[in-house]
Symmetry: C2
């Protein structure tokens, strides 16, 4: 089988590590998963599982003993995570169109002292195997995907959950393990791909042979053949859908309960299957944020706050170069001030939070918490700007604003309090303001593309979508391919003289001549204003863009931890591992001294596998594994988070190599995201293609007339009928498309096919521009 | 007369500048003060004032013509600002004990088109000459110290307000000028010091001769001799005190009114005379903050926010080195959470702001805005800390908190919303927490002493003064010599297990042996916690420490602008000054490129003198003046803000010289503040000295028993009786003393005089420590 030689070398090196040896079990025995460390406990029958890992040869030998026919060919390939990668690897070696299987190991909630009763499910890839339904069937509570530790107890050869294989179960299979086999698989004589001991080896077997194998290593009674379709149909309605456990967490999250089982290890949702469950799960397990006991408010934990600080550091330095100064206005706005400008406040009024009481006193005048700061700041602009010599006035604030939305909150994207910066500038000349609008927009693009590795498109908002107080709004628009929805990334508005007229922000025109002044003419001019804002929503966009089924994937430039050093190849016995721990600490210190945010994970009592999983969930860009062999070879095994690529790094040049690697990762993450982004933006020239293209989770670029009424019509006409009646967020996939922006770079989409005669594809009027439309957040 | 040769050189150079020439008047005519640029106007009779400046010789000639006796001797010295410097200069030349005068030029509020009616007051130095009283007397509205521009119109020889001299008035004095002479001066035959044309020349004259001179240049009727003491006595009670105009500003500050006269140029109060008026005046005119239309809330303008950012940059980097991570918790707290710990909340409850409404909806549960974050954060500590391996947990937030105090607000010191950082850490071992308490306290000391140039004393709070939730509180204590009040600068608390017991933050004791665990013993331990906080109050302390009668004085390390470059020696005529402006811009650019925060003030229409004053009020540490002579000599005249020292800097090495100068200024400001601080801390060994020492605006260090009851007794017993019945803030000078801290450095005060037998000077019990007591903020 064709495999890349280097990868084979590393895989071999990796496999030779004692990841499943009893060395690790000594830890597992006492600590299992960290959530359970709190109480001392041992599993009474843990030794049942603690046997030597079996090998591919063992499996083939067992299979041969069944006399079912010729020994199956073993296909070796790159390790895979999930069906898409597996299929791709099989494609590479000419095995196209193979039917895949999935093997899942669940653990129900049990008393701490009770023996674990894991559930192994082997099913066709596309069979719906809801943990809720399985739990009901087996009368087990709160089934969750098993932790890495439990996986290793049950299947010692498995290095990670991707290696879970029913074929690698010990024989006889302990009676405490529930073994479930998909009935459609069990009865099929088609061939299905299954792994042997690792996700890097595949054999093709008939469904009936799979059943025979499983029965041979346990007993025919022990293999429960389950018709999942029937199970689903029979289930009561509320259980028909996999319970979104992570989404329920806020209510249950009263921390005082110390319910350690609440957040299980490992991400419970697939990004492609339940995006919304996946999103909150990776955020919480990756320790980006935590729920809070006030709906719509979230705790920004260090991992996410560090991203915000990285954005602040970059942006603040850049705007200061342009003469912007930072300031801080109070969070409170008097009612009179807030309501001074009725039109402006109308948009915010339904969401304003009001302070009406202090201590025991009712306030005479109720006080608002700022939803934005125009009406807070501009009266002072009128006061401070006395002469054209006080211009330009360029102020920025880093603060939080409150918009008490009653819609379904979503971490980072729709929260009642959020952090942002708001810049407010005033100029004598319109052209100065126009220029600055684009300077700030370009900085926003740089934050997304250079820091967050998220591609965006710069453009102008349509009349319908611009900020109501602005002459025009520019935007950086992102797109989440997984959901097929566009997202506004940051906006830079030219306010014209709209606010300066409201707030009477004027200067004497320095160009007015003495004669005009002397004649008593009004030579005042209103200043031109901009405002531009960028919020923590950007963090959510980055998570959605890069995260995968293992958890967060953070771009190196903004990651709180860029590198984690994990000791591996540990031995049992007091003090034996000290040299490895020392080497890890030294390596982390060397990297830290060079300005790399590195950390050595020297926690005792966790297996390397558990640590790998932990740091993968947190999205740390680069893991360095250091064990006795690495130390002897003066190298470390480096594993990149974003593509799981493994490579040996020489320790003697480690700082340079790691720096280079982090740069590569940053660049490659952007490139990968850009490819996905570009694939998701489709030029669409006839109306009939619009809905199908949107339904295929793409944004469309169409020749458009820029007419507001036409935009409304597009929105109505592009709604899918399929999911009418569902709740807003579920409905989103079928929502109408709105304009995301009119891209500045029109050339990117080439000339109109019809040239000057190009019609808007919706209304047939003359098209003015290629415009990006899509469903959106 | 002995003068320093170098200084003389510069003075000569300075005097040769055409600061009062008609070159500047060309600007004055059109622009007057910037506050008035808004409307084009000319004073109808401006030409009355716009005459050539007179010289010292002119004055002496006029005096000689009066035939009052021998011509007075002219004493030349360094230019002086205010009485203290003047007295010091006279002392230098042997003229000790001379009675001084003061000459003030006021301007009433008049319609823009009306002719200005300035009021010149010449009085004995210590005569109370309230602008309010003078205004009532003359029936003029809102008297303010005149702007530099008006001064130059009235007295063309005056380069700044320090040079205002009645002797330099033109003759005849225009009838629009009110001339007021202190009656106690007019009738005295004692000799008084007066300036001639500048603050660098003094003559000694009898009071009666002064009167004769003034009458000779105007007319006997025109000189109004005023008995200020009688005027004060006759005034109605509310007017008996100089109206604290700046303090009234908030009410009047509705910016929409565009009342340009509201904030006049130049600081209206003397730091030593009306500290409270001075403090708000320098803050507003120095553009540190502005009042807001919600009482107790202030706008932090760039100058102050930059100080906060400098503090953030330093402190954040330092705490991260110790393993602290930043995070952000929501600003809202549910009622249940807030009130969970009754004892803790009791202290804050009367000041909590409550949100009860969002948009049009009444909230079912009212939501508090955090007054501090213990009850917000610690429930999550209980959740996140699952094992000793999760310790230490070290989090910090940069946020704002709200305490709706009903006491008289004071900018930075007592505000309803303020910015701070709050660190919250948890440890397994008490000794780790104890160590960290001091690490953070040391960082607080460094912020004060190294960044803000403010000396502090590190120590422990008494039982009465510690944070209620803490086992002990450590503090950095500052002291404001001008008011004689101590101020708590930042606190670092060891919370012991108080909160971990409330919130059940526990881990399994890693030292508990297996036997203990197996036997079912409770082997949980509660974590040890610290919290430490530092707020924007520190900015107020720095202003109070360094500011002077000219305005702010900012330490270079935190100043938004470190250097201002001002073009001088300008000529009239289009384009003539371009080379000077270019040289200034180039100089500022060169400094900026080297990382110095420099700015060239190239605003047209302001005189150099006006700019000097403007930047002095803002406290810019170093001014570089650049004119044709300087450019020719390849040098710039440098003027240090903090001591007004002038020196020529070579342009060819300007970056190094300026960097060195900024370092020197930073160090010298600290040294000067330390000297004042040390002078204000008096070892006091008998009770009878306590009140007199406090009354002399000092803190006391006494041998103390550390008994809480004794502290209460000290507080009661040390109150002065003098000012009973006054409002709280005015009363402060006579308030009782509380303990500020028990300094860690006990050696600083030497051994107790009585050694082991030393008694507490209040109660006579055995003294435990030298303790710092004082009146305080």
């Amino acid at each position: 089988m064709p495999i890349r030689p280097l990868a084979a070398f590393f895989r071999a090196a990796r496999q030779s590590r004692p990841t499943a040896s009893t060395a690790y079990l000594s830890h597992i025995r006492y600590y299992s998963s960290p959530a359970k460390f709190r109480a001392p406990f041992t599993y009474p029958s843990i030794t049942k599982f603690a046997m030597a890992a079996i090998t591919d040869s063992d499996i083939l030998a067992r299979f041969g003993a069944l006399n079912l026919g010729a020994a199956p060919a073993v296909i070796t390939h790159e390790p895979v995570k999930g069906g898409a990668e597996w299929r791709a690897e099989l494609d590479k070696v000419g095995q196209t169109g193979v039917a895949l299987t999935k093997t899942l190991l669940f653990k129900p909630k049990t008393a701490k002292t009770a023996e674990p009763t894991p559930v192994l499910v082997l099913a066709k890839e596309d069979t719906e195997t809801s943990s809720g339904l399985i739990g009901s069937l087996l009368q087990l509570k709160e089934l969750r995907l098993a932790s890495e530790d439990l996986i290793k107890q049950v299947i010692p050869s498995a290095a990670s959950k991707d290696d879970v294989s029913a074929f690698a179960l010990p024989s006889p299979v302990p009676s405490t393990i529930f073994l479930l086999l998909d009935s459609t698989l069990a009865s099929s004589t088609e061939q299905y791909a299954v792994h042997l001991t690792a996700s890097s080896s595949t054999v093709l077997l008939k469904g009936t042979d799979i059943k025979a194998y499983l029965e041979s290593i346990s007993s025919p009674e022990a293999v429960r053949v389950v018709d999942f379709a029937e199970l689903k149909a029979a289930a009561p309605a509320p259980a028909a859908k996999a319970a979104p456990a992570a989404k329920k967490a806020p209510a249950a999250a009263a921390p005082a309960k110390k319910d350690e089982d609440l957040y299980e290890m490992a991400i419970q949702y697939k990004k492609n299957e339940d995006f919304s469950g996946w999103y909150t799960d990776v955020l919480i397990k990756g320790e980006m944020l935590d729920y809070y006991d006030i709906s719509g408010c979230y705790i920004l934990r260090p991992s996410s706050y560090n991203i915000w600080q990285a954005i602040q550091t970059f942006f603040d330095a850049e705007i200061k170069k342009t003469g912007v100064n930072d300031c801080y206005f109070p969070m409170f706005v008097s009612r009179a001030r807030l309501e001074k400008e009725k039109d402006h406040i109308e948009g915010f009024a339904p969401e304003v939070a009001w302070v009406t009481r202090a201590g025991q006193s009712e306030l005479e005048e109720h006080i608002a918490i700022r939803p934005t700061s125009e009406t807070v700041m501009y009266p002072y602009y009128a006061k401070w700007i006395k002469s054209h010599r006080d211009l330009p006035l360029k102020l920025n604030q880093w603060n939080s604003v409150v918009r008490w939305e009653f819609k379904n909150p979503q971490p980072f994207l729709r929260t009642r309090e959020f952090l942002w910066q708001e810049g407010h500038t005033a100029f004598l000349e319109k052209h100065e303001a126009d220029e600055e609008v684009l300077v700030m927009l370009e900085l926003y693009r740089q934050i997304y593309e250079n820091l967050l590795a998220v591609p965006v498109i710069k453009g102008k908002k349509s009349e319908n979508e611009k900020f109501a107080g602005a002459d025009y709004t520019t935007t950086v628009e992102g797109f989440i391919p997984t959901t097929g929805r566009g997202i506004q990334g940051g906006t830079s508005h030219h306010l014209g003289q709209n606010f300066s007229k409201m707030f009477d922000i004027t200067v004497e025109d320095p160009k007015a001549d003495a004669a005009a002044r002397a004649s008593g003419k009004d030579t005042k001019v209103h200043v031109f204003q901009n405002s531009w804002g960028f919020s923590t929503r950007s963090i959510g966009v980055a998570v959605m863009t890069h995260g995968d089924d293992q958890g967060l994937v953070l771009p190196p430039k903004v990651a709180l931890q860029q590198v984690v050093v994990v000791p591996v190849g540990l031995s049992k016995g007091e003090g034996k591992n000290a040299p490895i721990y020392d080497a890890c600490a030294k390596l982390a210190a060397e990297l830290s001294a060079a300005g790399i945010r590195a950390h050595a994970d020297l926690r005792e009592g966790y297996t390397p596998g558990w640590k790998f999983n932990d740091w993968e969930m947190r999205g740390v860009p680069l893991r360095l594994e250091l064990g006795p062999r690495d130390i002897a070879a003066k190298s470390a095994l480096a594993v990149r988070r974003y593509d799981n690529h493994k490579e040996s790094y020489p320790l003697e040049d480690i700082v340079n190599v790691v720096n280079k690697s982090l740069e590569d990762i940053q660049a490659a993450m952007y490139t990968r995201a850009l490819e996905n982004f570009n694939k998701s933006v489709r030029k669409t020239l006839v109306w009939d293609d619009v809905v199908p293209t949107l339904d295929s989770k793409c944004a469309i670029v169409i020749p458009w007339c820029e007419d507001p009424q036409c935009e409304d019509d597009i929105k109505d006409r592009s709604k899918s009928q399929a999911n009418a009646g569902e709740a807003e967020d579920s409905k989103a996939p079928s929502a109408g498309a709105k304009s995301l922006c009119i891209p500045f770079d029109q050339d990117r989409f080439g000339p109109f096919p019809e040239g000057e005669k190009q019609q808007c594809i919706q209304c047939g009027k003359k098209a003015k521009s290629w415009t990006l439309f899509g469903r959106s957040y």
